[in-house]
Structures are given as structure tokens and as C-alpha cells.
């Protein structure tokens, strides 16, 4: 394919109506993006872009258009463009959202795009999610067997059995796509990044509720401390911004009930 053909193909996949102008309502939107280019300056600054949009344009479409047509220096993360990979989280007028699931038709006036709050900014809209990944790993997010010394027999492999009712108990909490929006929403994480945070605690709770798992006791030390469940004050904004309706606030606070029960039992056991 020639360069012109590749360019033409890329522009048309942006779906900003260059081919079917008669069927799409094209307007112009004004987007301001918080830039940070550490090689050039230690200060961040706002940069404005005007771009053609129609009713279907997502924020991710817009960022792609900016990068391809207007300003190739802009950096941001994205992948699936369908709200399942969790890569494209940004702040849109102060609210954490997925770029692929945010539609510019819903916004009047200026649209301000900033990197996800409460994470160190590496460049433009790219943040350092390391602390998030550490917190996820800290809760041992995998099935823990209480009888590990079982020889695997390939002739008679043992499988887990789980009823639909047992699945229902934890399924909602398993839908997390690790996008990190809840951490940007959570003021307790903003005040103290040592707080395990919504997604990590929800993940722990997901495994604790899974009938195949026996690791609740092992996760308890991580959860039953101040930076575990006890930092949460049920602000609930995490659940509000979650693009997969996981309801992390419910999971964290159910985790408080579990931690309280564990403490009571530990007290009686002496």
C-alpha cells in the first residue's frame, strides 16, 4: 500500500466523517490537554486543540486525531478502545473516565483532559501506575489451596466444581479491568498512597468469596490494618466512576465486616 492509501485509511477509521459528510453532524470542539514534557521543562502547561467531531466521537478518537493530524508529541495510553483493557483512563473535567467510553457529544464548552489523579505523571497523560500494581500483588490475588501437597494425576485430573450460585457471590467483584479510575476517585488514596485502595481490596474480597479459595486468613494481615480496609470512609466515589460497575466501595466495606469478624475470633482464641 502506498503512503497516501495508508494515511487515507487511517483518517477514515477515525470516523470523523471525512467520507460521509452528508450523514454526520460535524461540529468543532475545543479540548485542552495538560501537557508535561519532562525533557523540555519541569512545569506542566495546558495546550488547546480545536478538532472536528461528530455524534460518535469518543475522547479516545479525539486524542488519536490530535496525535495523528495535529500534534504528534502528545503521549497517552490506549489499546482495546472498547472499555475492557483499562488502559485509557484520564481525568475529564476533573472526573476519572475511560477515554474510549467518554463521548464528546455529552460535553458543552471547554473539555479539560488531565492525567489520572493521585498518580505521579511521567509524561502528558501517562502516569506511573507502579503503586497500584504493588497494591494488587500485595493481596495475593490468586486461588490459594489449603491442601497444597496433592499430587497431580494426569489420568484423573481433579477439577474445581462451582455452582452458578457460588459464582454469583463474587462475580461482580471479578469484573475489574484494573483501569485505576477508582484510585483517582478515592480521596483516601489521594491523601495516603499507602492505602491499598479500592481495586486491590475488591480483588482480595473477590478471592475470599470464591468457593475454590482458602486463602482468607493469609490475606487478612494485609487487609486488617490501617492502610488496608480501615482507611476507607465510604466516600463511594470509586463505585460511581467504575466503568464496569464493580462497586468497589461495597467490597471494601464488606471487607471491614470480615476483618471485624476475624478480629473478634482472634480475640476469643487468645
Amino acid at each position: 500500500m502506498s503512503t497516501e492509501q495508508i494515511t487515507a485509511k487511517r483518517v477514515s477509521t477515525n470516523n470523523i466523517g471525512t467520507n460521509n459528510i452528508s450523514t454526520k453532524n460535524i461540529s468543532t470542539k475545543h479540548i485542552s490537554v495538560k501537557r508535561y514534557l519532562p525533557d523540555n521543562s519541569t512545569e506542566s502547561y495546558w495546550q488547546a486543540y480545536d478538532l472536528p467531531v461528530d455524534d460518535s466521537t469518543s475522547l479516545l478518537d479525539a486524542l488519536n486525531h490530535i496525535k495523528e493530524q495535529l500534534d504528534s508529541t502528545l503521549s497517552y495510553r490506549w489499546s482495546c478502545r472498547m472499555a475492557i483493557c483499562g488502559s485509557c483512563g484520564v481525568m475529564v473535567n476533573g472526573i476519572p473516565k475511560l477515554g474510549c467510553k467518554t463521548f464528546l457529544r455529552d460535553y458543552e464548552g471547554d473539555i479539560r483532559i488531565e492525567p489520572l489523579a493521585h498518580f505521579p505523571v511521567q509524561r502528558d497523560l501517562v502516569v506511573d501506575m507502579e503503586i497500584f500494581l504493588e497494591h494488587l500483588a500485595a493481596v495475593k490475588p490468586y486461588l490459594i489451596d489449603d491442601n497444597p501437597v496433592k499430587a497431580f494425576d494426569p489420568q484423573a485430573p481433579e477439577t474445581y466444581r462451582q455452582t452458578p450460585e457460588q459464582l454469583e457471590r463474587y462475580k461482580q467483584f471479578a469484573n475489574c479491568i484494573n483501569c485505576g479510575l477508582c484510585y483517582s476517585a478515592c480521596p483516601q488514596f489521594g491523601l495516603n498512597p499507602e492505602f491499598l485502595g479500592p481495586a486491590a481490596i475488591t480483588l482480595a474480597h473477590r478471592y475470599n468469596l470464591d468457593s475454590r479459595d482458602h486463602g482468607k486468613k493469609q490475606r487478612m494481615a494485609e487487609l486488617n490494618r490501617h492502610e488496608g480496609v480501615w482507611s476507607c470512609t465510604f466516600v463511594g466515589f470509586c463505585s460511581k466512576v467504575c466503568p464496569k460497575h464493580v462497586d468497589p466501595a461495597a467490597a471494601v466495606n464488606q471487607g471491614k465486616v470480615e476483618a471485624a469478624k476475624h478480629t473478634l475470633i482472634a480475640l476469643f482464641k487468645g
Binding site: 505521579p120 491523601l191 466515589f237 464488606q254
Partner: protein, 131 residues
């Protein structure tokens, strides 16, 4: 990851909650304990007055009838109802109840709690509202 180019994260400003209506409502919810505290101190004063005799008791009732105290306690009443409204919707999320293998719908749990509020009011009416 090249951490040396990572921008330092400035600490959250203490006015973070002013940035969004959701956070302001959260702070309002938390602040309902302030009018509650005022009413609690009024109650403690009443208990003292009751111990000291009939005259003190009447004096306390007069104090409770003064305009500022009435307004503050009306605020306390509003605060208790706002607290109830926000507290009741949190309960089914913290402790989802199951009966016969099915989880109770949230509205049922919320309605049940409001029924408790009404029951207490009826109890008070039975205790104090009849001649």
C-alpha cells in the same frame, strides 16, 4: 520504567472536597454529627437539670424553647434525617442480606430501616403523646 523523569506528586490540598458536588455531599454527610453533638449536649444539660429538681427542669425546658436553641435543634432533626437517608442506602452494600438463597433487594432493606424510624416515632407518641 524511567523513574527519574517522573514528576513528583504534590500532596492533596485540604480543599479537595470542594472540587466536586459528590465530595461536598460526602462532607455534608459527615458534618451531620455536629448538630447531633449540639443536641447531645442539650440532653446532658437536661439530665443534669432533672437531677437538680423541678425548677431546674422547667428552666431547661425554657432554654430549649429559646429561638436559637430551637433553630439549632431543628437543624439537628434535619441532620438526623439526612444521616438516616444516607446511612440506610449504605447498609445493603455493606451487609447484603440473603433469605432462602436469594439476596434481598436493596429497596426492601432501605424501606425496612425507615419502617424502624416510623416505629420509634409511634412508640414515642404512645409514650409521650397521649394525655
Amino acid at each position: 520504567m524511567d523513574k527519574s523523569s517522573t514528576q513528583r506528586l504534590p500532596p492533596l490540598k485540604r480543599t479537595w472536597w470542594l472540587k466536586h458536588g459528590f465530595f461536598k455531599l460526602y462532607m455534608l454527610r459527615e458534618a451531620t454529627v455536629l448538630p447531633l453533638l449540639f443536641f447531645t449536649f442539650c440532653l446532658l444539660a437536661g439530665m443534669f437539670a432533672l437531677l437538680q429538681g423541678a425548677e431546674s427542669w422547667q428552666g431547661w425546658i425554657a432554654f430549649m424553647g429559646s429561638p436559637i436553641v430551637l433553630v439549632l435543634n431543628l437543624l439537628a432533626l434535619a441532620a438526623s434525617l439526612f444521616h438516616a437517608a444516607t446511612f440506610f442506602v449504605l447498609f445493603p452494600r455493606v451487609m447484603p442480606l440473603r433469605i432462602a438463597g436469594h439476596s434481598l433487594p436493596d429497596q426492601v432493606i432501605v424501606a425496612g430501616q425507615w419502617a424502624g424510624v416510623v416505629a420509634v416515632a409511634l412508640l414515642f407518641f404512645w409514650l409521650l403523646g397521649r394525655a
